[in-house]
Symmetry: D2
Subunit: 508 residues, 4 copies
């Protein structure tokens, strides 16, 4: 049996067929849960079918994973780094195909699909270096003949639950670090991007096999909320990294906390760009376009709020509407397309419903805002003039809607920026050092990502990625994010024969 | 009106009288909540009275604190360090009196009372140095004319809820770091140690006043659960540091998470000492005594489980019972006393009830275990032979009860050590490098504190203090614990005029 | 016998008399070398007399110091920090007197004298914190059952040779760090500031004595080149920290290298301030004044070259001459004085000779430049218009001479800034981010200190102080400067019973 | 024209022929200096000929390199990392051939030849990760509206002079780090291993070309002392990394210092293994064999001194002589060979002369010590009983000679270990924690490498490699060694409009 369309044939190069088992368990493929369809957002027709995980699949997978963890944590970190290096090389070999699949199944444009895979490759390279730098400390002890050390040991298993919008890069951020840190990975991909979950897993699996390592080091499940909950409740999983909405993230957090596990949360954003009167306007406009329309507004770092200084308000708005008009919408795999469809039909409906709410709360739609055609999930990106106090502005409408607001002073702009529950990303456009450093300082943006003269999206892996407040507080990728994937112990060794006490206490 | 006893007169040196307002709000003292008695655990008679906080006191305090936060976070960190240095010097000047008060009100022996205050002084000294080292990073950007920076900014306000057993040191761990990090501190001390809360606050308040700083930078409340809950729910408090039981800690965590605040939890411990057959036995026995009987077993790091290698079991037990017999019990302020009373009458009752449960679960009491006298809260420290699987062994009975168990192999000892829900502290006594590093490694102790040839208690401030699993995962004092008291932002500044994108993406 | 003048009586508070032994050797004072006079630069009359070190004094001192080093390096670092804390407190108690002495003997104005002592106090506070953070690393090993560690151990003895212009702060930078790092200190102060050397040493000595530590931990010599050479050649001194001219520094370096010791060099500066056309001119002018005239131009960070953008050249120059005219010259101890005398009569002669050379090389003296009066060492600060290519501009004339030059472009300004052999400090005044980051970047200033909108002088202790090229490359005070005062060892412990080799080599 | 022997044909795969230009200058190959022969140490016959660099070649190369430096330092560090990654991959593709060449031209056995190339590959992988972690710091300023930063910028050009014994790994340590740090590399390989120099350079050159980067980023010269001196004197080269003898290294240092350049020196070692009475003797004996006989005693980390505890002296010696007798000597390319020839005929003569000196100083040759055959440079590895005080023991005789000595106490063993001028590597064999930590501590080994239960040689790249005292003090490869390849600047930006001064000074 072949694929429905000839243009899907490239999926064979990624080990995919028209019908695919969706669980990688104990080094083998299976799937005894429901069969689901992977759907092309351009036309809402099936690309291929996937058998999802049953709870039995999950349990079998976790048992094998738990066994594998005992072995993997004893492999020296630089050797683990070598495995991750090989994964990076295997991804590099399939970069084009994987990028194409991301674009096909998720709906983002091809350069972004390839960029997403490139980001995992970058993460692999980074993690290889890191595998020799997971350093503990030797801390001077106040007691003679004592040595104090801070050691970092693997956690065992890291659960990774990812969302449709970055169907593999977020896995990459987590898995690359988790693996060099000595953890096995249990991955549940988004229910609507199962082919990517399978293709990515296949690549990792081959590397493990080539190195005679248990496949269960990397365990993957296609599945939905049931599997997600199983992960959240599973005491064998000390750390659950969850990417998704604030609402679900909070439930995950409470469930995991209940059993004294840890969460790494990457939840909703509600990101603003502030344009000051001294900004480089063409640079700013180009940035807003990329940040608001890129990935059809379905990035967690998508710019959702545009704060314009009074004196440039009209002019920027005019330019922005001008560039919005030129955005080429269409098949994300076609060259030149800047805007693909929303990921699902439900997203499209949500978008339309959102427009109604916006209007009912006083929002004035300056551009776009309607769904287009009936076949796929295309919508016209919207520019909306609205008060910063409108309720809808406090929420994350996951599509290409940009709220535009006016401010008079830097303080006011910062206040509006910080007035939403979320705290992921934020940007200012200005050329004044005093404005830049205020923005970066204690009374500036309260987000995890604080940019200047670049959009809210497009993070580099060397920094820590994540946000504050309702965004969940987790940090992924660079900086010292790796510490979250390890357990820290403060160790004191007495190698002498006396027992001096700290703080000079005398006992007995 | 004077104190009930002449020996309480020294309290005047600490600004205390027979009746004391228990809230330091907006730089002044008040207390419109219930009046409570501070009770001497030696005789359960009142030392002095304290007017606790009402919810109105709380609200007034928080409003002032919130205002003060705006100012304090702009004071340069090294200047904040200078304030903390002065607090350290002020404590140094009152070390003896404060230590005496700790001993009097909490019931620990005087050297430990003084040691506890000394620990805050050490923390102050440490924090002063830290105030010039709260370093962010400049990270190489992959984009030309871009600079990537990781900045650390103050959180604003840190809530600190402390427990009776370290009525001031835990405040010290948190407040010294929180203050140099640019945060105001809101402190709720334990309901049964209000005099210490007041005396400590008084010292801090004087330093703030001398420097013309708002007293609200340090806001303190004597009070109970109501105030605790108010702190947990208060969105003005981004971080709540809670020390106490796992049960209450979990409630705090869920409440704070609900509003997307952060917690730093220091919860129950259930700490084991493992003695290998090659251990230095006299050193080990002395350590067990200090760890199990010190502070009447009311440290979170108290040794509660003693794991003895089969071959030395009888001999160690015999020696241990021998030293237990020589422990001098009595008034903690008297020279030579090693064991004071339990902190409250309720603790004494719990201890007695615990003994019953132990027996009902097969525990064999080898030494001690009964309450003594009727006036104070004195109990005989107990040594109990019991199975590691007994339910009671999984819980923290907050008194001087030591469960003794036998093991054959290192692996077995580690398994028992890790078999409880808590993960605070642990120690092994051995002279073999291979045993030491196994103990410290991925398959070793799963605790936050992992010691060798020293007891489970008596941490130095240079390391990070805290534990895993049901102990809550927080880390206080040294290492990079300060990062928990700040918010991190990943900042990218584009100082060029182009807009290159990360991962080499081309958009438009 | 009393002091020549009543206003010197305060020196008694610092333990000084009219005749003072100048060596602190083995915990006692002596001085069997030549007797020299400490001279007041205001009038070139004797303040007091000092007996300098003979080579025998030196040898005796070093023997005791070498013994003391064995003990001191075993004192736990946090305990060493406590000693340094006490030194800081002792200095705090004598801040006014010591600052007064610095002003009196060196000739700098009183606020600078007090500021210099304050800097040592700051260093002490900083070093106390550091004493718990002299961290080594635990590095992941590629070999199973191996642990790799980077340890930092004391060097033993650090020799510190300081210059007259910062007669005690430079000792402070070095000694505070050296001491917490576990080293004994051997100090040779400048020959012309012996009273400060003695007073400082006295304070340290008292603290050591109070703590029952050998005085030889801090060994000090008043003396000249002979003692300096003895230090440079002494194999018992693994590190020599030298502050002074490039010429002498190079000799020290070659001598110390010959015996495989290490040097930490703080040599000549030749520091430029660049003022761009968009600068805040009043801020810039005020900064140039402080940087060029402060300490009578005798700081290593004194601004010696002023690079003005063509478009603001005339205007800035005019304003600068205006403020130069208002500078109050006189007794440095008098309130309101901004400019004291040069330190010695020889300096004054050098200054006058320098003026002749400047003129002979085409320099045009726009303001000042002549000596004043005959009693003290006063000179009028000079502003000189000169080509950046003149030979004299490449050298450090250690007095208040400011060379003014014109440039057209940022690149040209940077080229001139970098065109001198020295590389200590540099500043730019601008409000443009692109200029700031170019200045800080690979094609910017090549100095160790690179400032923006502040003068070339006035460093904070939290950063690393020092310069590149002929300035010698050493770094003092903050950041990781402490590493220079310790020896690093890369340690690998095999705690297993196998012998795997790195890089997977198979041998035998 | 072909190679003299068929077995050299594989060299073609590395771009080598019978006659090769030895300079890579401005992206092209040339060589207008003397023609020299690369000689096979097995038979002293020519492998191929090489045209070395003339001074004109050098000057042309440096001019191009200096130009390339301006470009390379502006390439973002992660992009530079990508180039180094590609170099690593190119080496991986030629691992077997390059390893074979190392074995052929240098004379070490094939597994060591391959291991040496693997080490460069490891370094590349490590450096890729590092390229996103060359972090500067943001340091809290004591002044409001000021930000203090520590920035790291490229030096420009790094000169690397390597020795015959690690003809390419040492280049790898330096070049990988230097390149990601933004520096061009100028390499002078050892005069007797020109083919390796050419082959390595060829691989780097191809990667540069493929990426359209100037070849001059990597400039290489085959040549001798004249080129070495030119590098040492060249003010365009801020850092010279030199590996070789202490004698030459000191000359390089003084020459480079004279022009205020910096040196990174890896000079002679004189490394001891201490075997305590509680050691795992079989492990120790196997380690000594690898450390003393491996690479025919021509590693800088070769064990040259064996310190045996009195009680095991005879037994260990007997076992050691036993294993020495079984060492298979022969062609290093043959499977099973453990000991190849010395590198040159001169080395062989030096070895023989060394034996005479040893005898004349009272050394007793217990095993080996004579040259073997006449064709190649083979010698029998020697075991010599000698006093630690003999002059010859203080020097590095660069061949397989092991001095055996007896000690009674740990202190005595440490004293002997530290009694030589060199301070590179050292090992102890023991199972006692107190011995281990004394050995690692302030009164332990004074070397840069301090091992326990592994040999003196065989370092991992994650740690810093290098030694103290006459070994020169440089550190290569891991830890923070990269800092030596960059220049540090302490930057303060005032973004406010006031001019507060450090230390609270008031000026004017």
């Amino acid at each position: 049996m072949g694929f429905a369309r000839k243009e899907y044939e490239f999926l064979k190069e990624l080990g995919l067929g028209p019908r695919n088992p969706g669980c990688f368990v104990h080094g083998g493929w299976r799937g005894s849960g429901p069969t689901v369809s992977s759907v092309n957002p351009v036309n809402n027709q099936t690309i291929a079918e996937v058998m999802e995980a049953s709870i039995q699949d999950y349990e079998d997978g976790m048992q094998a994973c738990n066994e594998a963890a005992k072995l993997w944590m004893q492999v020296p970190a630089p050797k683990r780094g070598e495995i991750v290096r090989q994964i990076g090389d295997a991804l590099r070999a399939k970069l084009q195909h994987l990028g194409r699949l991301v674009s096909l199944e998720m709906g983002k444009i091809l350069p972004e699909g390839i960029g997403e895979v490139q980001e995992i490759i970058d993460m692999c390279d980074y993690a290889v270096g890191l595998s020799r730098q997971l350093n503990g400390s030797i801390i001077p002890s106040e007691r003679p003949n004592h040595v104090m050390m801070e050691m970092w040991n693997p956690l065992g298993i890291v659960g990774v639950i990812t969302a449709f919008n970055f169907p593999c890069a977020v896995l990459g951020w987590n898995a690359c670090i988790a693996l060099v840190c000595g953890n096995c990975v249990v991955w549940k991909g988004a229910p609507t991007t199962p082919l990517i979950t399978i293709a990515m897993t296949e690549i990792v699996a081959e590397v493990l096999e080539k190195n005679n390592l248990p496949g269960a080091i990397f365990t993957a499940f296609c599945g939905g909320a049931e599997i997600g909950q199983a992960i959240a409740k599973d005491t064998r999983i000390p750390l659950v990294s969850f990417t998704g909405s604030t609402k679900v993230g909070l439930m995950v957090q409470q469930t995991v906390s209940e059993r004294f596990g840890k969460c790494l949360l990457e939840l909703s954003g509600n990101n603003a760009i502030v344009i000051m009167d001294d900004a480089d306007i063409p640079l700013a406009v180009r940035s807003v376009l990329f940040a608001a329309v890129g990935t059809a507004g379905q990035r967690c770092t998508t710019c959702r709020r545009l704060l314009l200084h009074d004196s440039i308000y009209d002019s920027v708005l005019e330019q922005l509407i001008g560039v919005y008009k030129q955005v080429k919408m269409g098949d994300p795999l076609e060259k030149g397309t800047l805007l693909g469809p929303l990921h699902t039909h439900a997203s499209k409906e949500k978008f339309e419903k959102g427009m109604d709410i916006i209007k009912s709360q006083g929002g004035k739609i300056l551009h776009g805002g309607s769904a287009i055609g009936s076949e796929g999930n295309f919508v016209q990106p919207a520019i909306v003039e609205i008060s910063p106090n409108a309720d809808v502005v406090k929420e994350e409408l996951f599509g290409p809607v940009l709220y535009v607001m006016k401010f008079q002073t830097l303080n006011e702009a910062i206040e509006i920026n910080n007035s939403v529950p979320q705290g992921l990303s934020s940007s200012i456009f200005t050329r004044k050092p005093e404005v830049i450093f205020k923005w970066l300082g204690p009374h500036g943006s309260d987000c995890g990502i604080v940019n200047v003269n670049i959009p809210t999206n497009g993070a580099e892996i060397g920094g820590a990625f994540g946000g504050e407040k309702a965004t969940g507080g987790g940090r992924e990728a660079g900086s010292d994010s790796w510490k979250q994937y390890m357990r820290r112990s403060t160790c004191t060794i007495n190698y002498g024969s006396e027992l001096p006490l700290a703080q000079g206490i005398n006992f007995g």
